[in-house]
Symmetry: C2
């Protein structure tokens, strides 16, 4: 019988521990303890902490992209409604942890970009991939005359996702949904206002 692989358990634990203690605070020792894995298996599977965090981030982002697609590819609703749906779905996810954990992409943007050029480059690539379907959806809403076409769709996508990260940051301080709800209310009555 072959030895069990701790790879998945360590990756899962890595996300949980990083959400609690941050990138710098999450030690390999803590992550292995949370995974119930021997210390040595971390090095065997991942080598460095940086390479490990990149893998946790990639898994997180692959999962987030499912939420993006579920909202933005639902042609049963209008493009503007799809943007709303995405923010509503993320709000539901954040509610599950009582507003105590944020977004790993936002967390690492703040915490890891000064320390790791490797992770900063990965985040640049992730933001690009994350933004593209939003820019597309916004362009579609503009073309349909649903929202104002005065701005470049990619600029609006950047504005939407960056500002949303700011709302999540504020949510973490308050441990409540007020900032998320306020953001959605204001943004969909102004920048993404429905054109009559």
């Amino acid at each position: 019988m072959s030895k069990p692989s701790y790879r998945e358990a360590i990756l899962d634990a890595g996300l949980r521990v990083m959400f609690r203690t941050g990138y710098e605070g999450a030690t390999v020792r803590d992550i292995c303890a949370a995974a119930g894995a021997p210390f040595g298996s971390f090095t065997n599977h991942f080598g460095t902490k940086e390479a490990f965090v990149k893998e946790v981030l990639d898994r997180y982002f692959a999962n987030l992209q499912k939420t993006v697609r579920a909202a933005l590819e639902d042609k049963a609703i209008s493009p503007r409604q799809r943007l709303k749906r995405y923010l509503e779905n993320i709000t539901e996810v954040l509610a599950k942890d009582q507003w105590s954990r944020g977004c790993l992409i936002g967390d690492l943007s703040i915490e890891a970009t000064g320390e790791s050029e490797f992770l900063r480059q990965r985040l640049i690539a992730i933001f690009k991939e994350w933004l593209d379907p939003f820019a597309e959806c916004i362009a579609e809403a503009q073309l349909a005359g649903e929202v104002d076409a005065g701005f470049d769709p990619m600029d609006l996508a950047e504005f939407l996702l960056s500002s949303w990260e700011g709302a999540i940051l504020r949510m973490k301080v308050e441990r409540g949904p007020a900032a998320l709800e306020r953001f959605q209310r204001i943004v969909f009555q102004t920048i993404f206002k429905e054109k009559k």
Copy 2:
């Protein structure tokens, strides 16, 4: 001759080291080394790391409030222009570090709120104090008919400062001013559009 106090040097070093390595990454040992101070003087002056970080944060915020007042109390320009001035002034400050360091309030909102209830409570109080003069300035702009009065001034102040933190987060990934400039351009043509 009395021994020199390392208090100020340690506080200055604390801010520099935290900007580089984050809240969790900034060890007392590193901070003392950066300050050229003996390890023991940290404990003598501050007791715990949490108490020390609160003091660094309070000094940072007191300094930020000078920037707030310089912009928002300048009655020579209109209230809407004062809001613009604030974001322009912060942009200049962030340029000095080549867009590599963010805002300590935003950083600690992401990094410290899960770990320290003490710092989370301090951040709640700081946000309130930070927001009040913005809400006042926005109310003044609405009363003067300079910007739309459809939203509560405090909601708009919350939206402005949270979303601005999101733009700073994005700036940290890109190491460039694009997100800050985009934010200002969009927000002052939409939510804070000048009423004709």
